[in-house]
């Protein structure tokens, strides 16, 4: 590793205002959405062109210095946590929508483009980009691709991976590859599918071709309140059994509801132990018929209050409560960990009871917000990082929840990725041979292991320093965690 050699070369490539070295300049890059970890890189570079990114990667390879690509730094798994002996490549200025072809329903974007900006650009044509992580106002497409981000509409529309048609990427040793095409169909192995979700270990996506969808003509959003989580869980099972395929089925527990009420006043029914949000969408006539069926199912469930969005503003109000749940819970506690485990939908009740029992045993408050339709949990584990041992306790509880997810046949991550946070659990979900195969593939793409080193694979790096409190951007209300 030759960091001095790299820095000298980078100084040739970048003007001083795009090659950051001073501690004060580096601070904002020290952590991401996984606020418990912090690590200061040697330098941050801010490329403005694809060529600069390629050249930077080639220089890192030549000098064997690790790099971490970063967009808006909203990763909840520590996916963009810097490596302390390496550099950060900040891609925010590669933020151009290079081409938008409404007829072909395609957008070609650079990695620093903000998720929501794609849908905004497509809106005049009646199109949108379906994946909608809660941080979509700030998170970038490059990060979405690296971590195969999800959102509230995955059951019906899939994750990021299902909406990426082609990728031009620079591999960690500097080779540039073109994967996929503009067609939704392909010939030969699905390399785009393999690249998406590779957590930055296969290099940096420079140009991404996105599939756009026509916006659903109509939405019908229903909110139902329950006196127990179990009753809400049964309602989810009945909706699924009814043959309906809602665009979203979301759930929140009492602690989350209270936090949301205090923060954004969505005016949810009082006294709810659980709230369910179900959204139908599609052709007006079809949604009307589906709504009749859904109403019946909900009437037959134990809901004690049901509310239907009367107009778009009302719909947005219902969603605002759900989408701000994480930051609202942040007000209840100085620190929290967001979990992302998945269980088979039929085991939701079981796992929630287990989480409640564990929370009581640890004496730790846990708020639950989740994508019920996907069985994707987001327990928010509250702790105070200033209390000695509190973080360790919270992390231990989080680990127990992950093990339950694995035991029930689920996954350690539904949409946040393994990152640094869950890397020790990868071998619990997969066999030694599986992890070994993944590792060999990583090495085939990146022989020097310089791209996002320390992520996904267990024990590959010393733990970073721990931090306390909300991320500065989160405190400012700019980012939220999902």
């Amino acid at each position: 590793m030759n960091i001095d050699g790299l820095l000298a070369s980078l100084a040739q490539l970048y003007p001083p205002d795009r090659l950051l070295r001073q501690p004060g300049e580096l601070t904002p890059y020290e952590s991401d959405g996984l606020t418990a970890y912090r690590s200061r890189p040697v330098a941050v570079v801010i490329p403005e062109t694809q060529e600069e990114v390629m050249e930077t990667v080639r220089l890192c390879h030549k000098h064997a210095v690790p790099f971490v690509a970063r967009g808006s730094g909203t990763s909840l798994s520590g996916g963009s946590l810097p490596v302390k002996e390496g550099i950060v490549i900040a891609l925010n200025r590669l933020n151009h929508i290079l081409r938008l072809d409404p007829q072909e329903r395609i957008a070609v974007v650079e990695p620093g483009v903000i998720n929501l900006d794609v849908s905004k650009a497509a809106a005049p044509y009646g199109l949108y980009y379906a994946p909608d992580p809660a941080s979509q106002q700030v998170c970038t497409i490059g990060g979405n691709v690296a971590f195969n981000s999800g959102g509230a509409h995955c059951l019906k529309y899939g994750m990021t991976s299902n909406h990426i048609l082609a990728i031009k990427a620079v591999l960690p040793d500097g080779e540039v590859v073109h994967l996929g095409s503009e067609s939704t169909e392909g010939v030969g192995p699905d390399w785009v599918g393999l690249f998406v979700g590779s957590e930055g270990l296969f290099g940096i996506a420079l140009e991404i071709t996105l599939r756009l969808l026509p916006r659903p003509e109509t939405y019908r959003t229903v909110l139902a309140a329950y006196h127990s989580l179990e009753a809400a869980g049964h309602a989810v099972a009945s909706i699924v059994a009814s043959g309906l395929l809602p665009g979203a089925i979301e759930m929140m527990d009492r602690l989350a509801i209270q936090a949301v009420e205090a923060a954004v006043h969505p005016n949810y029914p009082e006294g709810a132990e659980a709230i369910l949000i179900v959204e139908l969408e599609g052709d007006a006539e079809q949604v009307e018929e589906e709504y009749k069926r859904l109403s019946q199912v909900i009437q037959n469930s134990a809901a004690y209050a049901v509310r239907v969005a009367q107009d778009e503003a009302d719909r947005q109000r219902i969603w605002k409560g759900r989408k701000s749940a994480f930051s609202a819970v942040g007000r209840l506690s100085p620190d929290f960990i967001v979990q992302d485990g998945v269980v088979p939908r039929s085991r939701l009740g079981e796992v929630l009871a287990e989480i409640e029992r564990l929370g009581a045993a640890y004496g730790i408050r846990v708020a639950n917000v989740f994508h019920a339709g996907d069985g994707n949990l987001h327990p928010l584990i509250l702790y105070n990082g200033r209390e000695p041992g509190a973080y360790e306790q919270a992390e231990a509880l989080a680990g127990e929840i992950l093990r339950i997810c694995i035991r029930l046949g689920g996954s350690i991550t539904g949409e946040h990725g393994v990152g640094i946070e869950k890397r020790d659990y990868l071998p619990e979900m997969f066999t030694e041979a599986d992890v070994e195969a993944m590792w060999r593939l990583r090495c085939a793409m990146d022989p020097a292991q310089i791209a996002n080193r320390g992520k996904m694979f267990p024990g590959s790096e010393a733990p970073a320093l721990r931090a306390i409190g909300l991320h500065p951007l989160e405190r400012a209300g700019v980012i939220s965690r999902e």
């Binding site: 329903r105 009646g126 067609s183 939704t184 030969g188 192995p189 088979p344 869950k422």
Partner: protein, 354 residues
Amino acid sequence: MTTIEDIRSAVREGARLLPRGGGTKPGLSTPTEGAASLDVSGLAGVLEYDPGEFTFTALAGTRLAEVQALLREHGQYLPFDPPLVEKGATLGGTVAAGLSGPGRYRYGGVRDFILGVRFVDGHGEVIRGGGKVVKNAAGFDFPKMMVGSLGQLGVLVELTFKVFPQPPAYLTVSRRCPTLAEAVASLYRLYTARMDIDALDLLPGDGTATLQVRIGGLAAALPARAERVRALLGGGEIVQGTEEDALWRDAREFAWVPSGWALVKVPLTPRRIVELESALAGKAPLRRYSSGGNVAWVALPEPPVTLHAPLMALGLSGLAVFGPPGQARLGVRLGEAFERRVKRVFDPRHRLSG
């Protein structure tokens, strides 16, 4: 081969192997000279299915027909609409070939519904990737990598898929357009319309072209939705019932391809339809554009390799599903640099290069 151990031994013995399931895609499952066929059709059976989860897991040699019959009992289906079901295609063959049917237009192709995979790699190791739940982001996405892998990265042994509730009723609007250009213009109107369409196919004729537009959902809403499709098409005949069913079954089963002809899959976008039509004039008598013009199915009596040069010239790729061995991949080859690296990991000794 009926056990995973058998497959591991066969791979370790070192002969060049090409897996074969139902053998419905001879262009992809017939070994080239010096290679041996590895029959995996005995490795069959559904292992797990819970309708409430929208998922099932089955051995790779399981026939699609068996899976579909099981799903149908619970009002569910494979939304990627796999082809060649009645001819005896298997789950593994469908994934390895990377094939989806006309119904893939609505929710996506086989790549969008595969959740988990187990395969025997070229070292004889059993590797698992993905998971058994509908949402999962842990580890590299081996399931997607195996879609279209043609048996070159591993022998598929077990697969997990996402399924959906099946629309209870369908209806098709068929519209014959006087010119190809007009048909493409209509196709674009539907492609970008804010409506839910299950399948959108274009069938070129002699200068003319027919659009077939399928919608599915609750029966009560279908007539009104069909009228909206007709409005966008400027008319069109409504096809229903068994006739409608047969129309899409014939598309899915490639019943329109004469026996003994080659069949080539060509991914493209609607913009390229006119160009491909002129390039194929006189070379391939039958074509069908499916999934809103995202794939062309091209049938010809000559060996598929005759399409290699025209596809190259257009910058398109082709996959000869029916045809002699050794001519499967036509036209441009995408992602070769990536491919070399992956092949080195899973099959460095080229045991899976039949």
